[in-house]
Symmetry: C2
Subunit: 459 residues, 2 copies
């Protein structure tokens, strides 16, 4: 449906692999010139390691300006190795300082220093200044290339300065000029389009609007994203402790933050101990295994509690084997309802819709809705278990256990993310696998405890 | 850390509840005037239904302009009821047509018609025009208030027109002017700041850049978002079949799309049959229960297959009770590894990093990494199961079953999202609960089949 000019990546990958094999270098160069840099990235991620290295060496330098910041960590490092640090430094020198800082931060320390030393001195100073701030902070994603004017200046004077610097390419694509007092403290903003339309002799301080919100340079970049979304901003000013303006975060960088953070949240929830930064396609298999195995091993240790609990009831299972049939039904119900509740809560906390103070409100809501769910699942559980076991006490046990597990697992799904928040951790570390496992332990214990009472009584 | 001017919502909610109870209307009005509209929304979501209705009636009309589009569906409808359709129509009349269309689309059909009929005629036409496009399409999120100039016009003439319309507030906050030929077909874009700096007598067609990408009016809004992220755009033009410009989507609306779509994906993956649109805090409990119960019931039907499978092995469990201890360990392993794999694949497909054509590439990657994981979990499984059961054949069975389940569940985690994509469904419908359940059925069958061979042989 989309009217775009994207190429068929799959076809291009094959063609380039063929051309590389036959060493038809000129034809590759020709082909590259007809592909957008952003599509080259898609191709790079799909080439095998060997062809990727060869292909990287054939891409012209001006393509790298558009590509570098979007490459996955592994491919970025490969590109630096293939092109050589001095060529990469020359490419970086033509890029805005915040992008240079982002790229350097993703390189190994030694390479980073080498490249940095090769940058023009004034550019190096600007980049080093930005690299003071952690990449996950507001300072780590801001641009310093914004128009800042004193409130005492006239509109005409400010515009003159603006036009010169704009034409020299010294500004990032920002919409506002930032107005400061004599101490550099942010006192207002002016939309640049408005600035171009008001009388030239006005004092700029008189036409400035108070800034809607601002963010501290060391605040989490997620906080900046949340404010931009909430207040529908096109950019947000970044200030220091004394309220002095240091830079601004533009909405296109906020998008990158939102995409990165929601990917991080989804991967954590899916049970990956660390995020796969950059690309899944180029991620090394050993890294993937390491990240997945860590969680699995932690869960095995927890899961052995469940196994031990069941083994305590060996005698009971031996006398009523049918009890064992329903173990997966019970554990899955716990995992599923717990995941549902956790998903709702984690997402609500991530978007900033819910806060720590909403705990009571949410737990009451969850208690009511999970009780209703329990009323729905109990008869279903009874029907399934009676149909299969034809054992009335077992069916009663299963349905009571199911109902209780639904309520308990849902409450756990709410409580665990809040605990994570309380201990200043990311609520998203409460993953589906963790909830499943915790729900298993409580669910199984409950099931066999109910069974030991009920089956004794009813039998 | 953040230097923001947000209020303590929790405190305000309590204060407003107290004031409402004591009918101190003037004090509430005073208080509201000191709170930003965006914070009022946070307060509304935390009030009980009764106070919310009372509070809604006390908020001044000009606040509604900022608030309406951000209210959850339920609160929006409540606001319309409390304020009355004619007052709401008057408020909407001051808003840009794309926002009006979005709001109307969230109201019940009858109310929508009533409000629409009360809008000024020229505004109504603009809004109805926009409402032709489905809300999930590019047309559903575009703005039509963009500067469009003929390529034959001079810069000076275009600027004159621009300034007049800008000052009348007839433009949305866009960065580009769109340049068309005599048939209205998009031929280029000009950055508005550049437009203000070039010689006035130039023809605008001569300074225009070719548009980097454009999106068809009926394309999915996710497609528009993907293009904006990939090509780092501040806005994307929307065109019809004949390539005629219809509007543009600005980056702040793209952010809303990204947040909404990733919320949708996360909720689906967490096992909620339909997304909780708008707010979790104000969502009706009955709606929440309905959305959660549907999935749970579907899964019960699938899960009864697992139960039936286990019941087939009743005799074997009766003779080796220890086999039943490890059922949750096996089913959880299947669910966890399957979820991990599915999370990676779904996210990769959602961001557009991976495509349908990458299936073979990904399945090979998953086969290798899950085999490595299998080698890691097998000895752990053996140790846990031998330590608890002190039964060698059981421990061997458990470890072989675990290793096989890791591989099979991982492959399923990859295959299911691709199947969803093939049948033109959203890969995110492959939820953690679904994978867990499918992995259970295969895992349990495998376990008892291995057991029936091994325990016969080794015993």
């Amino acid at each position: 449906m989309a009217t775009t000019v994207e190429h068929d990546i799959e076809e291009l990958v094959e063609r380039i692999e063929d051309l590389l094999e036959e060493h038809r270098i000129d034809e590759i160069r020709d082909l590259v010139n007809r592909i957008r840099p952003q599509d080259i990235i898609d191709i790079l991620e799909r080439l095998d390691a060997d062809s990727r290295r060869k292909f990287l060496s054939l891409i012209p330098s001006h393509y790298y300006i558009e590509m570098l910041s979007k490459l996955s960590d592994d491919t970025l490092y490969e590109a630096v190795i293939v092109k050589g640090v001095s060529k990469i430094a020359r490419i970086l020198a033509d890029m805005p300082p915040d992008e240079i800082a982002d790229i350097l931060e993703r390189l190994p320390v030694k390479t980073r220093r080498q490249v940095l030393a090769l940058l023009p001195p004034w550019k190096m100073t600007e980049v080093v200044e930005l690299m003071k701030y952690p990449p996950e902070s507001a300072g780590g994603v801001m641009t310093t290339r914004i128009p800042v004017f004193s409130k005492e200046e006239t509109v005409g004077r400010a515009l003159e300065k603006y036009v010169i610097k704009y034409q020299l390419g010294l500004y990032d694509k920002v919409n506002n000029a930032y107005i400061v007092d004599s101490h550099g403290r942010l006192v207002g903003v002016v939309d640049l389009r408005t600035l171009m339309m008001v009388p030239k002799n006005k004092k700029i301080g008189d036409i400035a609007q108070p800034p809607p919100v601002k963010v501290h340079v060391l605040a989490d970049r997620e906080e900046a994203a949340r404010l931009v979304v909430k207040y529908d901003l096109m950019e947000i000013p970044v200030v220091d402790d004394q309220d002095r303006i240091l830079g601004a975060i533009t909405v296109d960088d906020i998008i990158d933050v939102i995409v990165a953070e929601s990917t991080e949240d989804i991967l954590k929830f899916g049970g990956l101990i660390e995020t796969v930064k950059g690309s899944y396609l180029t991620a090394k298999i050993t890294d993937l295994v390491k990240r997945r195995a860590t969680w699995l091993i932690i869960l095995y240790i927890l899961e052995s509690i469940t196994v031990t609990v069941i083994s305590r009831f060996e005698a009971m299972i031996a006398s009523v084997v049918a009890l064992s049939f329903f173990i997966p039904l019970l554990t899955d119900t716990g995992g599923n309802t717990g995941s549902q509740a956790a998903t709702l809560v984690i997402r609500s906390l991530a978007t900033g819709e819910a806060r720590l103070g909403d705990f009571t409100r949410i737990i009451i809501k969850e208690l009511i809705s999970s009780s209703l769910l329990a009323v729905i699942v109990a008869p279903i559980g009874f029907t399934i278990s009676y149909a299969i076991s034809l054992n009335f006490p077992v069916a009663v046990t299963v349905s009571i256990a199911l109902a209780s597990i639904v309520v308990i697992a849902s409450l756990m799904g709410v409580i665990l993310p809040f605990i994570a928040l309380l201990i200043k951790s990311d609520p998203a570390v409460v993953s589906a696998p963790l909830i499943t496992t915790v729900a298993d332990i409580t669910g199984i214990t409950l099931y066999f405890t109910i069974a030991s009472y009920l089956i004794g009584i009813i039998k």
